[in-house]
Every structure is written in structure tokens, then in C-alpha cells.
């Protein structure tokens, strides 16, 4: 019954989305008040219905209802409940349902909360949102129905890919999807503003919290995904330039650019056309990301099923939305008035440089990600990996970071080069000092990590410099947000540079009792014991890692899953204040020796700590903006 209820809710939601689109179009054409007024509640109910459908799917998974095909294919009654829950979106259909659910809820939230924008622009925005939703409802209902039944029902399910049986999975996809879909709201705002020819600070202020929110979630999703890959895959790396990772990085780059340009539009009424363009690009990147991950073009843990029809469907949606938005942009860009002017050396100029450099990086990542697919279309098999991205995007990123250090210290409108240099003296001194210090002390650091670490030092100083000589209590929350986020980038950069400069690795086959040294540790294999888990059996190594007088115990495991039959390596990681000891247990070699792979990674944790700081900065900024700009509006709503 639950499955049928979910399907019905989905159909009703799709019908309401169609109605929402028609009402918005009619209301805008005729200008009738009653039609305009009816659009808001429809959007809210549509969101509620989508949420009900998702709730039905989750309850079917929790109840292990084996008459639903999706449950059979992706779950097993012996699975821990968290993975039953996560299994609801750990597959193609379920994850697409989650996508439209978040889309519907976001649309409902816009309808419910947005009071600042002109009524016409808001209705146009809701119409655009309904158009997007309609496409994805069609995709779900016609090409990937999550509620399809099987008859006869099998006794039990096939299980979930053990690599995905991890607490991280329960939160990673929803986080990223909220980010992706948040950008769809920015896209709808941009389309709405174009339709009503109303591109200005009010539009920017309405859009900004959504962009900020999406950006926070994308940051969290990428950070969590990176840490998941780091400890789950057991390769000791934290970023692989895998197309699936790029699919989440590209919207983030676009959203970062949008975040900065929307500020120029909101505060100085500049960069109008460019901001609208970026909003379209940002959501296009979300769509391309969804297409890459969901179409089965890429094979990875994320590509759940290879069905060419689905790929074609998403590609068609992609072409319609991006093409439509770009066509609208081309038609209407002439009517967007030129924004306020500014000098090149000004905060606006710095933000333009930020946007330009971010767009260049985005272009490089896009080329590197799509080129192998295009080449495959011409019958050439090739893959593009880390060397390409590091070589092409690395230098641009370094320039971007230098601009980032200076940007917040430049005044709006116009600034004096000499005065700016004075303000930058301290950060530059910090960078030079750490460069010299590392050069003299570090025995043989490669150039890039050396530059990275010195830049991180300068950046850290520069990012807190805006607080210099200010009354900290009176400093607005969004200024704090900027400071914290920029500091997070410096911290993350320092972590990356430390990881690439100081990591030590050992790969050995040892008998119990033989010590192996890695970094400051002496690691000894004490013994191996068998282990039984909830739905797996395995082997666990007991490692003793000694440093100074202290001994740490690490227990990396090999796990064997029965359904589906798979082995996984469970890494054991010990986090110290100055880094992580990372251990992987390999196979026995048949003569009593066991393979061990050990890494000592000084300060690697800074990478994710930085990511968390960036997201925290975003949250502070969002809080500051919302509390300042919505105080009045919210009072009206709740009064």
C-alpha cells in the first residue's frame, strides 16, 4: 500500500507542478491578482506531496518490503537500519526522488518565505521552478519509477554495495543534493528576473541566501565526500580528480563565483548581466553533474545502473533547460541596464578578478571531465587524471589565492595602490618569512608545496586583517563569515601542502613481531584475529604503533560480505594533534607474512578542518544576512 501511496503522491505532485507553471504563465500574461495569489499555495502543496512520496519510499525501505523492486535490488533484511534508510537514496531511482523532493521543498520554501521580491518576479520564479520540477517528475514517472513492484516477491533482497555501507553515505548524497538543488532556486530567480526584466539589487538580495545555503551544503558535501574517499577507499589520497568528484566541484566553483558577484550586485548594483549568467551557469553545472553521475556514462560507485535511455532523458532535460535559459538570456540581456561603474583597482575589480579566475578553473575542470567522453564518442579511449588538472588548474588557483588575500582589503569603488600595499605589508611579510624559513629548514621540499605553505601563511594573516582595528563586537556577522571562510581556505591549503610535502609511506610484508618504521612511529604487527560483524565476517590486524613512550593500537580489517559477495579493506586511522597514522591491511602472502600499507601524514586533517571552517563561514554569513534583511519581513509574516 505504501508504495502505491508514494506513487500517487508523485503523480499529484507532477500534476500540481504543471498547474503551477500554467498559473504562473497565465498570471504574468493577464496580471490577474487571484491567479497570481493562487500560485504560492500550489508551490507549497507540491513540495509537501514530493516529501510524502519520499517518506513512502523510506518507510518501504525501513520495512524491507520485498515486493518493491527497488528494495529487492538495493537492500537486504539483515542490514543495519541506518543502511536501510540510506539505501533509499543509495540507488538511481531513490536518489532522483530525493532530488525532486528537495526541489519541491525548496520551491515551497521560496513561495512561503520570500516577501521582498516584487510579486511578478516571484511568480515568474515559481514558474521557472515548476518547469524544472516537471522535467524531473517526468523522468521519475516514465524512466525510473522508484515504486515499481515485483511479482512474485523474492524472499530477500540483493543487498547494498558494501563500499556504500558507511555512515558517511547516509549524509553525503542528501547534503550534495541540497547544494545542487539550492542552485536551481538561484537559476529560477535569474529566469524570473529576466522574464520580468527586473535585474537589480532586490533580485540579488532575494537570491543571495539561496546561493549561500547551496554553497554551504556543497562545501560540506565535497568535504565529507573527500574524507569518505580518504578513509574508505584505502589509497591514502583525499582527492582523485575522478569525474564524479569533479561533478560536485564544478557547481561549487560556479556557486563560489556567483556568491561573490551577487554581493557586487546587492551592494553596488554592478555586474548585472554577469550575475544572471553565472546563476544559469551554476545550475547548468548541477545538471551536468547529475547527468554525469546518473546517466551511467561514468562507471564508479555512484553509477548504479547503466541504461542508455535514462542518460538520453537527462541529456534532453539538460539541453532544454540550459538552452532555454541561455536563449532567454540572449533575448533579454539587451534590456538589462548597465550596472554601476567602478575603477579597476577597487573591491568590485577584485571580485571581477575572482570571478574570472574561478571561471577559468571551472572551464579547465569541465574540459578535463568532458574531453574523455567526447573522445570516446570518436572512438578514442583516453582518461584524464590528476596530472592534467594539477598542471592546468594549479597555477590559476595560486593566482586566485593571491587575489583572494588582497580582495577583502581593497575599498569599494576606488582605492589607492600605495595605500593597498601598506595594508598588504603584513601578509606579504608573513608569506616571505615562512617561505624563507621553510626553504632553510625543510631539507628538500618541492617547489609547489613550498609555495602552497607560504601562500597559506600569508593568506591566513590577510584573511583576519579585515578585523584589524575594528570593534569585534560591532563587526557584522557576515564580515565574520567572510573572515572565517577565507581563513578556512588558508587552513585547507596548508593541509594540502603538508600532505604533499611531508607524507611518508611504507609498503611491506611482515611477520607478527617485526617492527616497521614510518615517520616518527615504529609499527609492529601483534597478531591477526577473525571477526564477525552484523552482516559480514572478517580478519582484524592488531597493530601497535610506538612513538616516544606512547603506544597506539590500530585495528585495520579485511571484511567479507555475503550479499552481494564482496571484500573490503577497512582502514584504521589514528588522529594525533600533528597528523594521522593511516594503516591498511592487505593479503597474506602464504608464508606467514601479511601485507601492510602505512602512511604518516603530518597535518593532513587541516584539509577537512579547513573545509568545515569554510562552511562555518558561509553559515555565519547566511545568518548575518538573514537576520539583517529578513527581520522586518519575517515580522510581517508571523504577525
Amino acid at each position: 500500500m505504501t508504495a502505491e501511496a508514494g506513487l500517487a503522491a508523485l503523480w499529484f505532485a507532477a500534476a500540481l507542478a504543471a498547474l503551477q507553471l500554467v498559473m504562473a504563465a497565465m498570471g504574468l500574461r493577464t496580471g490577474r491578482e487571484d491567479v497570481l495569489a493562487a500560485t504560492r499555495p500550489i508551490a507549497v502543496v507540491q513540495g509537501v506531496l514530493a516529501a510524502i512520496a519520499m517518506g513512502c519510499l523510506v518507510s518501504v525501505f525501513l520495512a524491507s518490503d520485498m515486493s518493491v523492486r527497488l528494495v529487492v535490488e538495493n537492500s537486504h533484511s539483515a542490514k543495519p537500519w541506518l543502511y536501510k534508510l540510506a539505501g533509499a537514496w543509495g540507488n538511481h531511482e531513490g536518489s532522483m526522488l530525493l532530488w525532486v523532493t528537495i526541489l519541491g521543498i525548496a520551491g515551497g520554501a521560496v513561495a512561503l518565505l520570500e516577501r521582498r521580491l516584487s510579486e511578478r518576479s516571484l511568480i515568474a520564479t515559481l514558474g521557472a521552478q515548476a518547469t524544472i520540477a516537471l522535467g524531473f517528475y517526468a523522468f521519475l514517472l516514465f524512466a525510473s519509477n522508484p515504486f515499481a513492484r515485483v511479482f512474485p516477491a523474492p524472499p530477500d533482497g540483493l543487498g547494498l554495495n558494501p563500499l556504500l555501507q558507511d555512515p558517511g553515505l547516509a549524509f553525503h548524497p542528501p547534503t550534495l543534493y541540497i547544494g545542487y538543488v539550492g542552485l536551481s532556486v538561484a537559476f529560477s530567480f535569474a529566469v524570473g528576473a529576466l522574464v520580468t526584466r527586473d535585474v537589480g539589487p532586490a533580485f540579488a538580495r532575494a537570491m543571495r541566501p539561496w546561493v549561500l545555503g547551496a554553497w554551504i551544503f556543497l562545501t560540506l558535501g565535497i568535504t565529507a565526500g573527500s574524507y569518505w574517499a580518504y578513509y574508505e577507499l584505502g589509497w591514502g589520497g583525499w582527492w582523485f580528480w575522478d569525474p564524479v568528484e569533479n561533478a560536485s566541484l564544478m557547481p561549487w566553483l560556479a556557486a563560489t563565483a556567483l556568491l561573490h558577484s551577487v554581493t557586487v550586485l546587492a551592494t553596488r548594483d554592478g555586474l548585472r548581466a554577469w550575475t544572471v549568467m553565472l546563476a544559469v551557469v551554476a545550475f547548468s553545472m548541477s545538471m551536468i553533474g547529475t547527468f554525469l553521475v546518473r546517466s551511467g556514462i561514468l562507471t564508479s560507485v555512484h553509477a548504479f545502473a547503466v541504461d542508455p535511455r535514462r542518460g538520453a532523458f537527462i541529456l534532453a532535460l539538460l539541453a532544454i533547460y540550459i538552452g532555454g535559459a541561455l536563449a532567454l538570456f540572449a533575448l533579454r540581456v539587451g534590456t538589462v541596464r548597465e550596472g554601476a561603474r567602478f575603477e579597476l583597482l577597487s573591491r568590485e575589480g577584485g571580485l571581477v578578478a575572482n570571478n574570472l579566475l574561478l571561471s577559468v578553473i571551472l572551464g579547465i575542470v569541465l574540459i578535463g571531465t568532458l574531453y574523455p567522453l567526447v573522445a570516446a564518442g570518436f572512438g578514442v579511449q583516453l582518461s584524464i587524471g590528476a596530472p592534467f588538472f594539477n598542471k592546468a588548474a594549479g597555477p590559476v588557483a595560486l593566482v586566485l589565492l593571491a587575489v583572494m588575500a588582497a580582495g577583502p582589503l581593497i575599498r569599494w569603488r576606488r582605492d589607492d595602490a600605495g595605500e593597498l600595499m601598506e595594508r598588504l605589508l603584513l601578509p606579504i611579510a608573513a608569506a616571505c618569512f615562512s617561505f624563507a624559513g621553510l626553504f632553510l629548514l625543510g631539507e628538500s621540499m618541492r617547489l609547489l608545496p613550498l609555495i602552497g605553505l607560504s601562500l597559506a601563511a600569508g593568506l591566513a594573516v590577510a584573511s583576519v586583517a579585515p578585523l584589524w582595528k575594528r570593534n569585534l563586537r560591532r563587526t557584522p556577522l557576515f564580515t565574520w563569515g567572510m573572515v572565517v571562510a577565507h581563513l578556512g581556505i588558508a587552513v585547507s591549503l596548508a593541509g594540502m601542502a603538508c600532505d604533499s610535502a611531508f607524507t611518508q609511506e611504507r609498503l611491506v610484508a611482515v611477520r607478527p613481531g617485526e617492527p616497521v618504521s614510518v615517520g616518527p612511529f615504529s609499527v609492529t604487527l601483534v597478531g591477526i584475529r577473525p571477526l564477525i560483524g552484523e552482516n559480514w565476517s572478517g580478519l582484524e590486524a592488531h597493530l601497535a604503533a610506538a612513538r616516544g613512550g606512547n603506544t597506539l593500537v590500530l585495528t585495520p580489517q579485511l571484511r567479507f560480505f555475503a550479499n552481494p559477495p564482496t571484500n573490503t579493506n577497512e582502514t584504521a586511522i589514528s588522529t594525533r594533534w600533528d597528523g594521522q597514522l593511516y594503516t591498511v591491511l592487505g593479503q597474506p602472502d602464504g608464508t606467514g607474512r601479511w601485507q601492510l600499507r602505512l602512511w604518516w601524514k603530518p597535518f593532513v586533517t587541516l584539509i577537512w578542518a579547513g573545509g568545515a571552517l569554510i562552511a562555518l563561514g558561509g553559515a555565519l554569513s547566511l545568518l548575518g544576512r538573514v537576520s539583517r534583511e529578513r527581520r522586518v519581513a519575517l515580522r510581517e509574516v508571523w504577525a
Binding site: N161, L163, G234, W235, T299, S300, V301, A303, R341, E343, L344, V352, L356, L357, V360, G363, I364, I367, G368, Y371, P372, A376, V380, Q381, L382, S383, I384, G385, P387, F388, K391, A392, P395, V396, L507, V508, A509, P564, P565, T566, N567, T568, N569, V584, G586, Q587, D589, G590, T591, R593, Q595, R597
Partner: protein
């Protein structure tokens, strides 16, 4: 600065940045794109020496052996027509086994063998790297 000049200089700046980035990307693409080879491609086209490539195929039955250090693995990759010996130092992926698909990243040595720096095996029973499926399909040995 006049408005016209400002727009012009901004546009030129943007153009310059995009061209520079394009050149950067192209030069990196030329050096770094790793092409995919099956053992019979190597037989036909010769050894692609001195560049990072991927080698894909099946791990030949009975070919996996371990060196004395306990961490170097030797095996033979086959696509049904030709074979290439591979050495790899490291922990093999969870689903690396004989008669199963594998993609090795690394480079060819002048003696025709392959030095792998990374192995990608299929993640689960449903998954096969598309390159492997393609190479297998061409030589029609996929059972």
C-alpha cells in the same frame, strides 16, 4: 577612466585570461591525457613508451604470482589475442582476481612489460570498467 575604456580593458583582460587558460589546458592535455590500451593494441601499434597510459583486459588464469618481498605482484593481462606481463607493488584492490577484469595505470617498459602504479578492479559484480567491456567486446572473449 572612461566607461568605454573600462569595458574594453575588462573585456581584453577576460579574453587574455581565457586564452592563457586555454593554452595551459591544451599543453597539459597534450602531455597528460592517458590513453587506453589493450594488449593487442600494443601488438598492433607498438609500445607507447615514456607516457602514462592505462592497460586493460582480463587477469589471465594462473598468472598471478608474488615476489619474495611479499608486496610485488606479477600477473598477465590478456584480451584474448595478445598478452602483456604486468608488475605492481602494492595492495591489490578487493576484487582483483584471476579471470576478472582489470585496468592498470602506469607505463610500458622497453621490454614490453607494464609497470603499474595503480590497479582499478571492478567494484562489485555488476561493475566492469567500460574500457574493459569495450576491449572484451572487440575481441569477443567475454563469456
Amino acid at each position: 577612466m572612461k566607461a568605454k575604456h573600462q569595458r574594453l580593458s575588462l573585456a581584453l583582460l577576460a579574453l587574455g585570461a581565457v586564452v592563457a587558460a586555454g593554452l595551459l589546458a591544451l599543453s597539459a592535455l597534450k602531455d597528460q591525457a592517458a590513453f587506453f590500451y589493450a594488449p593487442s593494441d600494443v601488438q598492433r601499434e607498438g609500445l607507447p613508451l615514456g607516457r602514462a597510459v592505462r592497460l586493460g583486459g582480463m587477469v589471465a588464469a594462473g598468472s598471478v604470482s608474488r615476489a619474495h618481498d611479499g608486496v610485488t605482484v606479477r600477473f598477465v593481462v590478456t584480451d584474448g589475442h595478445a598478452t602483456t606481463p604486468v608488475t605492481f607493488a602494492g595492495i591489490v584492490p578487493d576484487l582483483f582476481r584471476e579471470r576478472s577484469g582489470v585496468v592498470a595505470e602506469g607505463s610500458f617498459l622497453p621490454d614490453g612489460s607494464f609497470h603499474a602504479t595503480n590497479l582499478l578492479a571492478k567494484h562489485d559484480e555488476k561493475y566492469m570498467p567500460p574500457q574493459v567491456a569495450g576491449a572484451m567486446h572487440e575481441t569477443r572473449t567475454l563469456r
